[in-house]
């Protein structure tokens, strides 16, 4: 038997079963498991070669079919017949699902060709409807979100890098010679920048670019110009 398959051809074990039932011109409700089990297994072997991920469902069904087939061949008990009927019923329902899916697809396809239209009132009169009160709240939320994102954006723009902050403070102090720590810190736009500024001041103190005086003000050290 020559089987040509492509990946994802069958949605699941029921899909394969339905395919074989149709191939054998069988009615899903009159499913004869013994007639298609061997072929089912052949297909599952092929599916296993191309689609490792989805095979567990197929293998489970193959096992069930084999069990029913062997029992029917040996001594068809009422229980076994019922099991076959159950699978037949499931298969039948699945056939309906496939039909319904086709129907839905057809409706979607048709309606995608129908485009909604509307016309304008001739006099573009003032549309004085009231904007709901909750719009104020929405504006507030959006503004907050925007502020938040701006901050994130600035971080990614590297404004908070220590080297840049160091340049800024150096330039500032070369001009001013003396300033309070608070004054430098207050040039920060948010907490993160504040932390960066503080750490930079500490670093400049360590480098002796800045010195601290008795009024807790920082002053440009004498050698600061060469730093």
């Amino acid at each position: 038997m020559e089987i040509q398959l492509h990946s994802g051809q069958f949605e699941g074990s029921l899909d394969l079963l339905l395919f074989l039932v149709r191939k054998h011109k069988m009615n899903p409700l009159d499913l004869k498991i013994s007639e298609i089990t061997d072929e089912f297994i052949e297909y599952v072997k092929e599916i296993e070669k191309i689609d490792i991920e989805v095979t567990s469902d197929f293998i489970l069904m193959a096992a069930t079919l084999m069990e029913i087939k062997s029992r029917i061949l040996l001594s068809p008990s009422k229980e076994t017949i019922e099991k076959q009927e159950e699978i037949a019923k499931q298969l039948y329902e699945y056939a309906i699902v496939k039909e319904s899916a086709k129907k839905i697809e057809a409706l979607c396809d048709w309606h995608s060709k129908e485009l909604g239209v509307s016309v304008f009132p001739f006099e573009t009169q003032e549309k004085n409807g009231m904007i709901p009160e909750s719009f104020t709240k929405v504006l507030r939320v959006i503004r907050k979100e925007m502020d938040l994102r701006k901050k994130i954006y600035r971080i990614s723009k590297d404004v908070y890098s220590f080297s840049k902050k160091m340049e800024t403070i150096k330039t500032f102090m070369l001009k001013r010679k003396r300033a309070s720590i608070n004054e430098i810190l207050s040039m920060s736009n948010d907490r993160l920048e504040l932390v960066v500024s503080f750490v930079t001041i500490l670093e400049l103190l360590r480098l002796k670019f800045l010195l601290i005086d008795s009024n807790d003000e920082v002053i440009l050290s004498e050698g600061g110009n060469n730093c």
Partner: protein, 184 residues
């Protein structure tokens, strides 16, 4: 049925993006029956072949659409949106549509294979949504279709979909049986 009343309702429908019967009632101050008659009349007028648009009830709202047969020309002036769905997503959608509210387990029984990926995709497409079923034991998650689903199908409600294909309806089942035979 006065000509002016028909004209007024036509103007209302054209100016809006769809109105329900009760919305038309409250704006036009007409009775439901009269409105239904007028909608029938408008539908009939536009169904004629010298009109390129038609009146439809989609998801309970009446509005005008260009007729499908003119899509080629119309798509040159207005963008057509097509929702791309896979075969398995369609199957899951069909199961939910006809059996809602339905749990993931029940869906999987229908298809004989896992359906959670498809359900997730369909949620992000806005075609189904998930909620807790308070009546079932343990309040499991159940899946239902959304209004958006009716909108992409262009049908008025779920019952009109069922008319086309009912799981319990023996006549339809017969059709399915025949179609299964024909295809093979």
């Amino acid at each position: 049925m006065k000509a002016e009343t028909i004209a007024e309702i036509e103007a209302l429908l054209m100016a809006s993006h769809g109105l329900s019967i009760s919305e038309i009632m409250s704006i036009s101050q007409k009775k439901r029956n009269e409105i239904l008659e007028i909608l029938d009349k408008i539908e009939e007028t536009y169904s004629k072949e010298d009109h390129g648009i038609e009146l439809k009830n989609v998801a309970g709202k009446y509005s005008f659409f260009t007729k499908a047969s003119y899509i080629e020309a119309v798509s040159k002036v207005k963008k057509r949106s097509i929702s791309e769905m896979t075969q398995s997503q369609m199957e899951v959608l069909a199961i939910i549509a006809f059996n809602q509210p339905i749990t993931l387990k029940e869906m999987e029984r229908f298809r004989g294979s896992s359906s959670s990926n498809q359900a997730r995709e369909l949620i992000s497409l806005g075609l189904i949504r998930r909620r807790r079923d308070k009546e079932k034991k343990g309040n499991p998650y159940v899946y239902v279709t959304t209004e958006n689903f009716l909108k992409i199908l262009g049908v008025s409600d779920l019952s009109s979909l069922k008319e086309e294909k009912d799981f319990e309806n023996s006549k339809v089942s017969q059709n399915v049986r025949n179609s299964v035979k024909e295809e093979s």
